[in-house]
Subunit: 176 residues, 2 copies
């Protein structure tokens, strides 16, 4: 058995991994940056067991990375939103994503700075403006046609058009 | 059971996590950036079962992130070194580490650019020089006294002085 924490590793990386290192957690956060907020939308897009998603969201709320607020359009349901601490993960998540793109040799999407349209550097910085735009100043757009058999859940469909990060996803019109 | 890959997630982040998302893998890579190359040194510093370390190193070699070369000073032993693809993980690893530092509120170490001595920004960039130094242009130095009960393995002792990333660690003189 591996220990469930890294408490004998006096290291900030170990601390980060205690919070976001569980399987699927960074993909839940990726979806939150895309603008996903409802449990059922995370569920349909990630395609993981309900209990896994539920555990991951609870842990993210407990550690202060996300916050749970009542869903104004569905009583007794919740929306899950990134906190300031969660938003601060953006450069790390984007850098890891950039490395994955390099490994896969595929570039399914491009992320651009809203102010100038420049694609972000691998560190999430805009070379043109010399700044690292906050996620709500970043557009994501597909670069490639969907692969045969690609997902058709509402979030996946919503991501087939240019979209500002953190803007609510999916829209009602994204339902398949 | 969770699937062992994220193959229905058409996403570069999922690809990255397939390679480096297993428990302990990013801490093995952290140690490789510190300059650790021998199996027994990783083992003593990470304090994980031999089979786990062995599996992680094998997977990293298979995916081209590390390479295994004969140890010139011990016949029948190997050194594990980062490849170019492994080095390319530096900004992601450093950004995640910076976020962990923010979460823990502790700053056990500082990373500085060798050319100017400036502490790196959270994205591993040097503000003074306007560049992102390669890891072999970065020094790591402790900022705090070791906590009571802190590790005393040779790698931990080696990290108690200023050290250039990727330079061989530990030195013979670091043995406890």
């Amino acid at each position: 058995m591996l220990p469930s924490s890294y408490d004998r590793q006096d290291c900030s990386l170990a601390r980060a991994l205690e919070i976001v290192g569980e399987r699927w957690t960074l993909l839940v956060l990726r979806d939150a940056f895309y603008g996903v907020r409802r449990f059922n939308d995370f569920l349909a897009h990630l395609d993981i067991p309900r209990t896994v998603l539920s555990n991951r969201l609870r842990a993210l709320v407990e550690s202060g990375v996300m916050v749970k607020v009542p869903d104004p359009s569905h009583s007794a349901r919740w929306l899950y939103e990134l906190t300031g601490e969660g938003m601060a993960l953006w450069p790390a998540l984007y850098a890891l994503r950039s490395w994955g793109e390099r490994q896969s040799g595929r570039r399914p999407r491009v992320f651009t700075h809203d102010a100038c349209g420049t694609p972000l550097e691998p560190t999430a910085r805009c070379e043109t403006c010399g700044v690292q735009p906050a996620p709500n100043r970043v557009f994501v757009a597909p670069l490639a046609e969907p692969k045969p058999g690609a997902r058709t859940d509402p979030v996946a469909l919503g991501l087939r058009r240019k979209h500002r990060l953190l803007d609510f996803l999916p829209l009602d019109s994204d339902a398949a």
